[in-house]
Symmetry: C2
């Protein structure tokens, strides 16, 4: 293997960014007080943690849940590991350790650790790589262990993960069985382990798994080999395709492998795939994967808002991929994607109280989604509002681990300074070339307000700099003020260059005028419609905000009147139409159109991610133009 690629940006060490107030701190507080507790309670209630107890006991048992529920326990542990590192919460540390001990007790003598295979009454190990998800679960254990190791803690779980990685290397490594798992993920976990420990064998195995996929090593399945990206090798593919979470985890792992092994061709292949995927296969919210049937990307421009699957986990995986591409290339478009996807597609999942979740994130709810029964796990196939848990419940724990570690997305830094990608109330710091610390405090009502103030807590030496990403929707209207008056900002970046003394305040403004947005004509499903955006938020309209008796299907927007900012989003002038029903909904174009009655109204559009928090309602992101 060649050496590591020179990445454009460096990740800051864990703990370098602290979210201290406002939008983001509230979210992390909610995660701490509710989301993590909720996930732990349900994982216990469903018997998914007890699976490990039963496996440890050794005799045949009636295992709870689908094959891969071990992975939800691991994502929960990863969330807890991040959260303990962030807060030092000793009660949470104890809760983590209790679950970790139960997990580790189920590890077998040779390092294998999975509750669904290989024990009395179970199918043999590695007998169903297509659907068994064994390596997928291992990957999530590795990620939990790596989170723990990166925070400076070694424990029984991290040791168990390394033993499992050794077993895996012996089984599937060089000279072992040439196979891959039906669900990419172990590759990500192996690189995380490598980065936390420096164990070359883990990187080598990740590289092998990435290289092997796309060569038909998996058996035939109903959805075809593209479902698990076994149709074309990663470096030869042109676009992300098949099951969205699988495709995105694989692409993220491929970037990891490319960066760590100096494989520029592989990096460029993924960049090209990402580019086409963004241009043709991504929802306005950043959501990916439109199809319900196989949770897959559709064809180019197949993006129906009313059947948007846009799985929460796919949005999280898209953030993971964009984060890796941002570090590798420094291109601000990747940070744009992180911001858009996080604020709209990911944060739509948790309910305001953190105790119910969307699995799929539609952009158009045609009939008022029913409230889920809070006492049972929902099927993901139902058109319900947020549910407390699912039979297949990958999303809630994925939200928990993402929010716990969301600080890593805000800034990168290296010996020359800091790069700020997201905004809010936070502190960040890095160590400069001369060994000095560079520390900044950011204060902003962002993402709800446009003013971002960066205070230097330490001097910024000559030849050092702080770069602020300028969001693309500011469209030339961003300004910066270093105490000498606001100046317009050309381009996508505000570069604050040293020398500057400690105490310097930099004030950037990213104007958040609400705006109408239209889609490429080839996205047939939203032709003739507009969406409303404000700052980084996609807005939506719910029928609970309409005049009595009106329905979101009745609206048309008069785009000649611009939307008007409100504290909650934007006021939009609409026409409310009452349409008569025709026995046959198609008519000869030369015939007369049925007459309908209509009246004007001004309607409040609010951030999409908050929809459905006020009871059953219909909703739409895209509204027809009048």
């Amino acid at each position: 293997m060649a050496g590591r690629l020179h990445a454009a940006l460096d990740a800051l060490p864990p703990g370098s960014v602290a979210l201290e107030g406002g939008f983001w701190a509230r979210l992390q507080d909610l995660n701490h007080t509710d989301i993590i507790d909720h996930c732990a309670t349900w994982a216990e209630r469903m018997g998914w943690i007890a699976n490990f107890d039963a496996a440890a006991a050794g005799s045949a048992f009636d295992r709870a849940g689908i094959e891969f529920v071990d992975s939800d326990v691991y994502k929960l542990l990863e969330a807890m590991a991040h959260e303990v590192a962030r807060t030092g919460d000793e009660q949470l540390e104890q809760r983590y350790a209790d679950i970790a001990d139960r997990v580790v007790a189920a590890q077998e003598a040779d390092g294998y650790l999975h509750t669904a295979f290989g024990r009395p009454g179970q199918r043999p190990r590695y007998s169903d790589l297509e659907w068994g998800h064994e390596l997928y679960c291992f990957g999530h254990l590795f990620q939990a262990a790596a989170a723990r190791l990166r925070s400076g803690r070694e424990d029984r779980l991290t040791a168990a993960a390394l033993r499992l990685a050794d077993h895996l290397h012996a089984t599937f490594g060089p000279g072992g069985r040439a196979a891959v798992c039906g669900h990419p993920e172990v590759e990500l976990g192996l690189v995380d382990l490598y980065r936390a420990t420096g164990r070359d064998q883990d990187l080598e195995l990740a590289r092998l798994f990435v290289d092997r996929r796309g060569r038909g090593l998996l058996g035939p399945i109903e959805f075809g080999p593209a479902y698990f990206q076994d149709d074309v090798p990663v470096r030869e593919a042109e676009v992300l395709r098949g099951h969205a979470v699988r495709a995105l985890y694989l692409a993220a792992a491929a970037v990891d492998v490319a960066v760590e092994t100096g494989d520029e061709a592989l990096l460029h292949a993924v960049e090209a795939q990402w580019k086409r995927t963004m241009a043709r296969r991504t929802y306005l919210t950043g959501g990916m994967g439109s199809r319900h049937q196989d949770e897959s990307f559709g064809e180019d421009y197949e993006l129906p808002p009313d059947r948007a699957y846009a799985e929460t986990c796919a949005a999280i995986a898209s953030v993971m991929l964009a984060r890796r591409l941002l570090l590798a290339t420094g291109d601000p478009r990747y940070a744009d994607t992180i911001e858009r996807t996080l604020l709209n597609a990911v944060l739509c999942s948790p309910r305001e109280d953190g105790r119910a979740f969307f699995y799929a994130n539609t952009l158009h709810q045609r009939t008022a989604g029913a409230l889920a029964d809070e006492s049972v796990a929902s099927s993901r196939a139902h058109g319900l509002l947020r549910s407390p848990w699912f039979d297949v419940s990958c999303c809630p724990t994925n939200v928990a681990r993402t929010v716990a570690n969301v600080g890593e997305l805000f800034a990168t830094g290296d010996e020359s300074g800091l790069q700020l990608h997201l905004y809010g109330d936070f502190s960040a710091g890095t160590t400069l070339a001369n060994g000095d610390r560079l520390e900044v405090r950011v204060r902003s009502g962002y993402p709800n307000a446009e003013r971002v103030e960066v205070e230097l807590l330490t001097p910024l030496p000559a030849a050092s700099r702080i770069d602020l990403r300028v969001p693309p929707w500011t469209d030339g209207r961003a300004t910066v003020d270093l105490g000498t008056g606001a100046e317009p900002v050309p381009g996508r970046q505000i570069r604050v260059a040293g020398p500057l003394p400690a105490g310097t305040h930099v004030v950037a403004r990213f104007p958040m005028r609400p705006r109408f947005v239209a889609a490429d004509d080839r996205i047939d499903a939203v032709r003739g419609q507009v969406a409303v955006e404000k700052g980084p938020f996609v807005l939506a309209v719910e029928d609970v905000d309409l005049p009595s008796g009106a329905h979101v299907a009745d609206l048309e927007i008069d785009t000649s009147t611009p939307p008007l900012a409100t504290p909650d989003g934007a006021d939009v002038r609409v026409l409310i139409r009452r349409r008569p029903d025709s026995p046959w909904p198609y008519r000869d174009l030369t015939g007369a159109e049925l007459r309908d009655e209509s009246h004007e109204a001004v309607v409040g559009y609010r951030p999409y991610y908050r929809w459905g928090n006020r009871g059953p309602t219909t909703m739409r992101v895209w509204t027809p133009r009048h």
Copy 2:
């Protein structure tokens, strides 16, 4: 039970309509020479007929296919039964008898007959009513037997069917187990048996099954109880919902039961459901059921052309339902639906050579569908062109039985005369009140030509009449000529009243000017688009008919120039646009639109049902308006 309802129209006895040339005779010839043979060959090759041999042998066996493949053998037998009755083909009679004998050999002593349940190594009978499809298969056996009995033949299969119906009545009849099958169908078979034999117990059991559904007798499934219409009793439902074939078979059976038991309330309930389904949940082609995931109806107005599931069997079921409602009410809208659905949604399935089929019938193929491997059964989930067979292969045999018996859709008749609903080259006859025969010969190039000539082969007495349906798309331009010059026809019917002598010629014209069609604004997925229709056909454009390098995604129609009739369909003036790719396919409405190049062209649109017969191609029914 009250007596039979007075139906508006009476079905003619089997054999009363003979298709003698042109479009329809060619289709029945293709069925005779290819489709039926193809289905028999594949049912044998897949081991689905041999399942009966193995079951008859009595010991445990490795059964081929999904639970309900018995039903495909039964639909094949039904097709053969109709075809033998139609043609008297002795070779086909022998083939029918050979398969029927193998089926009957597997019947158990108590009448039970299914190859997947109750035998050594199999699950117990009726242990999985949700998914086992036992009664569904029985229903198809009953329909095959009834087809045989109606043609005046009794044989071992018809006797076996009656024994099975006795067993079923004893098991699920009054005082028996109060249950229903997860897939409606047995209800249709039971009424067919009742009509062929007059056995009241079969009607009684059908009525019970219709009444029991919607009361939660089936267990919970992932898709919820609406999937198999167990959410709401038939007579209380407001719209067709859930799995489309299940919903339509149930509705058709409910009409049968309503008519035979004098249950007007039940009939009116189904009429209202059909009305709303047509107004809000039906594709332009007549196709029903938009969702791939659970093969279900979507919500009102959820009709994406590019993800139209529109299963062939659902279209066939829609024809069955409309046929029953036509007979019950006489309303020509039901005949309109039969014609539209048959010519567009059903006939799209078979390939020109009758040896490959669409399972789903999309209205928009975004990327050129690959050719199926002719040597293996396809998964229905793949985006292939027509396939020779499927793992779940309900559609080919359903096409075979429908085409073999399609004559019954052309005319109804009673003591007062004949009613002609579809047109082509055929003869039809009925017996009048005075015992005389009324015989007509129809000659027409329909559905490809607008002239329909009806010749009286016998006198039409005073007080007798012949009614011709006027297709709705003639829109006031239809004419009729009884030898005294063409006269415009007001309304939806041409009434030819006696007395008229034998030899009278009636010439109707149904002008087939091609036309642009627009959809209700609430069908978001086709907003701003138009379709092209000509006569009873929906037209489509394929990229094989475009100038080199153009793609159906590039077209816009200038609707100010009307489409021009061609022998193959219509010529349409379009703009062919070349659009630059944007990195992000959404843009601020106040910003500049990307410029593209475009040029005008005239493009041939052809009947939708024939698309994909000339190799891999993209296709669309709906084209954006310029």
